[in-house]
Amino acid sequence: MKGLLIKDWKLLKNQMRFMLILFTILIVISFLDNTNHISFMTSYLSFLFSNFVLSTLSYDSYDNGMLFLLSLPISRKIYVQEKYLFSLLLTFGSWLISLLLRLLIFPLQFSWMEISEICFESLIYLIFVLLFLAYSIPLHLKFGNEKGRMLSFGFLGLLAFGIFTIVRIDNWQSLFYMVNRISLKFVIIITTFLCIIFLGISYLLSLWIIEKKEY
């Protein structure tokens, strides 16, 4: 598995220049962003890196690459495990770095209350990103890159539309106050638990897809 992780890391490194440009843009935007409640940086960077995981799936299947990869001394199970591990490492890593940067860039502007709010919001973004990966990885494995990407973004669009509809119906502020009344710890535990469940189901689904697949 280490060999596969190195492969994905090398592919990521080859895109480092592009990543650095985006990272710079991100920092500039963060400086311009005076509205502290927007965790743009955290969500954007994590989402960007989660997309890179999907890109590695594209790279793997580029020019019949999967034929070669699966003829190496790795099983299909290890291939799937590596993808999920790489996703988690990359998403958590980028989330943590961006959160720390955000807190470090404006350390004096925040009260403890605001910092905890930012951390909470960032955590919600992280969970959204992980959920995005949870349904996108099996879609990519099943339908290939182009169809998989279209379907995962289509699903994301539907999800956004659903949330927007709920917000319009139920009034966003009342929903926000309702969430606020629930213990923060409870919300984090429930969402983390749900995220783990979804990732588990996603992993099993991906495994089933790749075991059935013919190359």
Binding site: K2, G3, L4, I6, K7, K10, L11, N14, Y59, D60, Y62, D63, N64, G65, M66, L67, F68, L70, S71, L72, P73, I74, S75, I78, E214, Y215
Partner: protein, 282 residues
């Protein structure tokens, strides 16, 4: 080393149905025209496609039960597949080091230098020949016990082909090793393989030792009258020609000794492929 027994795989317009064996210390070739089923057979051996029935064994074990360590004893070069083209050779060295416990980094680097393969150039930017060399180097650089090479010399000029074949001959020297190879370039196989399988439309048409094939097999060029009189005991295929028939024999010596005024030619692998696939069964 490899044993395929009564493999059957049905596709919408193609059926693979074959049995073959690659014993230890042998170089076995799989030959056939385009679309004959060579690459499908390779993919089947590697467990990349699921078969409908039959047994596939590598190192005496069913392919799906091989451990990672056992799979590391395989060296693979597939015709149209390699590491992602966005990687460079310097990127794939640590990958190979971690995937193969016996990866010989120094040897690999030395061969890259020998074949003028740049370490810091994207594989995408390699020529076809450079890619072919890289694939073979990847396959032979970890002391594999069995090489499975699908069209490894495609895109190489005659000198590079000969150099690579020499490397493969060197690879066989320690013993207890085998190679299964396919190639369109029959001259490569004639001087290189111990035996060969001919496949067409998913079926094995012929399995023979290369030296028997080249020494004993022959082409008879006969007129219609000669064809009526000739003893067909060692004839396997006939093909209609403007002058009469072209016949494939498994014992050209028999006809040299017993029939006079007959045109008998030595045959090469290309001619055998032609006669076995286009000729009429006798």
């Amino acid at each position: 080393m490899i044993r395929l027994h009564n493999i059957k795989k049905q596709y919408s317009q193609f059926q693979l149905q074959c049995s073959l064996e690659v014993p230890q210390n042998r170089i076995t070739a799989l030959i056939g025209p385009n679309g004959a089923g060579k690459s499908t057979t390779f993919k089947t051996i590697l467990g990349l496609t699921h078969v409908d029935s039959g047994e596939i064994e590598l190192f005496g074990k069913p392919i799906l039960t091989l451990t990672t360590q056992e799979r590391a004893m395989l060296g693979i070069a597939l015709s149209n597949s390699c590491f992602c083209g966005y990687l460079q050779i310097r990127d794939i060295i640590p990958i190979l080091s971690h995937l193969y416990p016996k990866f010989q980094k120094e040897y690999f680097l030395q061969q890259c230098k020998h074949f003028d393969l740049p370490l810091t150039k994207k594989i995408n930017d390699f020529s076809t020949g450079m890619k072919a060399k890289l694939k073979i180097l990847i396959a032979i650089s970890h002391q594999a016990k069995l090489l499975i090479l699908d069209e490894p010399t495609t895109g190489l000029d005659v000198l590079a082909r000969e150099e690579l074949l020499d490397i493969l001959r060197e690879y066989m020297i320690p013993g207890n090793r085998s190679i299964l190879i396919s190639s369109h370039i029959s001259s490569d196989l004639e001087g290189f393989c111990d035996d060969l399988y001919l496949i067409n439309k998913g079926k094995i048409l012929l399995h023979e030792e290369t030296n028997i094939l080249l020494d004993n097999y022959g082409i008879l060029k006969v007129t219609k009258e000669q064809y009526q009189k000739i003893n067909p005991i060692y004839l396997t295929r006939k093909k209609k020609e403007p002058y009469g028939y072209r016949l494939l024999t498994t014992q050209k010596q028999f006809y040299q000794d017993n029939v006079q005024e007959l045109i008998i030619e030595k045959c090469n692998i290309d001619e055998i492929i032609l006669m076995m696939t286009k000729g009429e069964l006798l």
